[in-house]
Symmetry: C2
Subunit: 467 residues, 2 copies
């Protein structure tokens, strides 16, 4: 495709997306597509010769869009906010247009340095502990997701206890990791991937707020030590997926600090963004006790997926576990030791220029704009919770701390499940569910980029009607 | 950013990229930036209030572009081709604009189904063995990189031999993996990550063409069995990074088939694309003996990074090792068993709509267009190799099979190294190096989207001049 044709088609695609943004509130939020519908509509064989661009764009409208659940709809309240925004989309576009590789500093210095700098900006915005700053031996890196960040944290933790990267024969088979029974499934996945085995992950029970009980953590660690196991990794969650619970970091940090082998990772994927507001920054109390931390700008910070910010206090064990330097990647800058090669901070080798979208988001909105977005979501969630409380048919299961409301119908699980199905089937809204203490509970996650008061209000009216 | 502002700014960014495409050949290919240059030019603090979009675009030109090594330059011959193209960029743009999540089928059916379908198309284009097709229990998935695909293959292989996802205590510590000493660093990285330990990776010596010696592989496996170890994973490479060597798949496949525990993974990240041309399809001879396979459309198939196509013959062990279903992800479609949930086929949970760009590329260029791109690169490489052979000062180290030429100066390593430095310092071209049998060798990787005959010719003239 020539630059001129790219120019012409590019303008068409921009128009298409702008128009999508204008129309997205009117689409049924959840796709009504049946399994196989799209597959059956597509030709079995790839085209032998190139097709007109218009044909592709027509199929986008007629075949692809009906098969989408519209995560960017202001009526999307499922799972978690998956913020996209104009500047983020354009940052992603620029990154694709430039098409550079950031695996080494030397393969595009600006790609690495903008990333390091954005991690600094983010650390300042969230007032993260100084230990994560490069000047103190720490550092930050963009990962695709919190799953990968958690895996990297686990590998660094393992590296600190064993020389596991060299040998599978050392006494690593009795390593034990800990998280709450509300922690994200990625902890279990990481434990599996690393070959530690899910039997060696202890899922600690929680208190009434679904936060990890530090006393039970302490007991579990003591039991393991007594049994000759090696406790080495604790993951605390700041904002669980199910119910947005906050594990008590100060107490958990103290337990972890009792053993030099234990690495404390803090997973704030969903809620970390809130710390951009001084009034919510308390969610990070105790973070200075952590060895690593991550949160996802691609959830609630107006930045397109994928963009997870991962910080470590001591980068040495991370790079020790992941660094391999084959001849064909050797270069003067790496050998000088004066630069960061982010390939040693992640699972894959190659990497996109993801810092660009973060840079464009922070500059376009400013800290203040991001604060407004967070405050807006939280105030909508609190208002929604009040509505739930005021309707005797509903029960507010958890008073929202931030932007997730968990609630159900008092008459029981079946009715709540039917309500969910009816609401989603209407196409007007989309919510998801969880189970808390054996009860089926609806989750109303507020924070989509375009969600306004009237969208939340309309959702509540619909739920009242259907109830 | 309102849809209208997005429209306006979007058109500007499209113009900027089109103009970048027009100008990129004139930029110094390798960035001349010094460590810290960009960091020092950026403000320490993030902006409190949003800035004008123009300010960001100005900084893009003045601060970011000088810090880039231009991977999309037609004069870029380093590392490997990192193909970008108009339709791929627009596919990435649409994916960002739609902002959907493809972790489950139900979170956007079209995202999953288009991916499955594109993997079918790709399998047809490359004439991959039928065993990788869903109808035969196999399947394909898009991974970010071949590194991640290899890690997934290793985990599936481990799952087949042990119940490792459950327990770290089983006799897994004597698992042993094999690859050639020319294999990609990601194999070693995967072995480390999985906790198998790099001491349990045997790097098999190669023949004169730098291809793995099956006889030595066989001996190493026998030695390990004799020692009570459990050989479980062999990775063969189709097109090594260093010198584009091809491990002999039929013979390696036979060795691997001698033991039901051994999983054969084929890493064709760099060269697999060539199989789109019938005359190069022989590089996959013996692939029917493999358990898994991957190649990177983001290298040589006109598709933006990241896009690795990963196929497995039996998806069961892959999903067994990676599947976790927490309550908040439960849904009817998953429970029906009629759909694919790609989150169980990869390391992270979340996933972008990457199939969109592959769809746009295949439809825009057609199979024929992609064949032309491959043939063009290969013929340029062969011509370049003839030029090298005809100049008595140069030695052609390897006769290129496809699009990588390895060569050096006869008078020795120092001169070759100086030649590389001088060529790259000129800004007119960019090449990288490797070491083959202790000799410092230049690598000329041909296949950038915009590389034409005159770019290659000019590169050769420059090298002759500098020699």
């Amino acid at each position: 495709m020539s630059p001129d044709e790219f120019r012409r088609r590019g303008h068409e695609v921009i128009e298409w997306i702008a128009s999508y943004m204008e129309r997205v509130a009117d689409f049924p939020v959840q796709s009504r597509s049946q399994p196989g519908a799209l597959r059956n509509a597509l030709p079995e064989q790839p085209p032998m010769y190139g097709e007109p661009f218009d044909a592709v764009m027509n199929d986008l409208d007629s075949l692809i869009v009906p098969g989408l659940t519209h995560w960017q709809s202001p009526n999307f309240f499922g799972y978690f906010p998956a913020n996209s925004s104009g500047p983020a989309i354009l940052g992603e576009l620029l990154s694709a247009g430039l098409g550079v590789q950031g695996m080494l500093w030397s393969t595009s210095p600006a790609c690495t340095e903008l990333e390091t700098h954005m991690m600094d900006w983010v650390a300042r915005m969230l007032e993260l502990p100084q230990k994560f700053h490069p000047n103190n031996g720490g550092g930050g890196v963009i990962q695709d997701t919190a799953s990968s960040a958690t895996l990297c944290a686990l590998l660094a933790a393992r590296e600190r206890v064993t020389a596991k990267h060299e040998s599978g024969d050392d006494p690593a088979s009795n390593l034990v990791a800990y998280c709450s029974n509300q922690a994200h499934s990625s902890i279990e996945k990481a434990v599996r991937i690393a070959g530690i085995g899910e039997n060696n992950l202890r899922m600690i029970d929680v208190d009434d707020t679904y936060a990890m009980r530090p006393d039970l953590l302490e007991q579990a660690i003591a039991r393991d030590r007594h049994a000759g196991n090696v406790p080495f990794f604790v993951c605390a969650t700041i904002g669980t997926t199910s119910s947005n619970a906050f594990d008590p970091l100060p107490a958990i940090g103290q337990v972890a600090a009792s053993d030099e082998h234990i690495w404390l990772h803090v997973d704030a994927a969903m809620s970390g963004t809130a710390a951009v507001c001084p009034e919510f920054r308390h969610i990070h109390n105790g973070l200075a006790l952590a060895d690593s931390y991550c949160f996802n700008p691609h959830k609630w910070m107006l930045t397109n997926f994928d963009c997870d910010c991962f910080f470590v206090a001591d980068t040495l064990n991370l790079t020790k576990s992941l660094s391999i330097l084959p001849e064909y990647l050797r270069n003067k800058a790496t050998e000088s030791g004066a630069v960061i090669d982010y390939r040693d901070w992640q699972i894959p080798l190659g990497r996109r220029f993801r810092a660009l979208k973060l840079w464009m988001v922070i500059r376009h909105y400013g800290v203040h704009g991001i604060q407004q977005h967070v405050r807006h979501s939280v105030s909508l969630a609190k208002e929604f919770a009040e509505w739930v409380k005021a309707d005797p048919r509903f029960e507010l299961v958890i008073q929202p701390e931030l932007n997730l409301v968990c609630f159900c119908l008092r008459i029981g699980d079946d009715a709540t499940r039917q309500l969910l199905n009816a609401a989603n089937a209407s196409g007007k809204v989309f919510l998801t569910h969880t189970v808390l203490r054996d009860r089926f509970v609806l989750r109303m996650a507020i924070g989509a980029t375009m969600t306004e008061h009237h969208h939340v209000k309309r959702c509540w009216s619909l739920l009242q009607e259907l109830a």
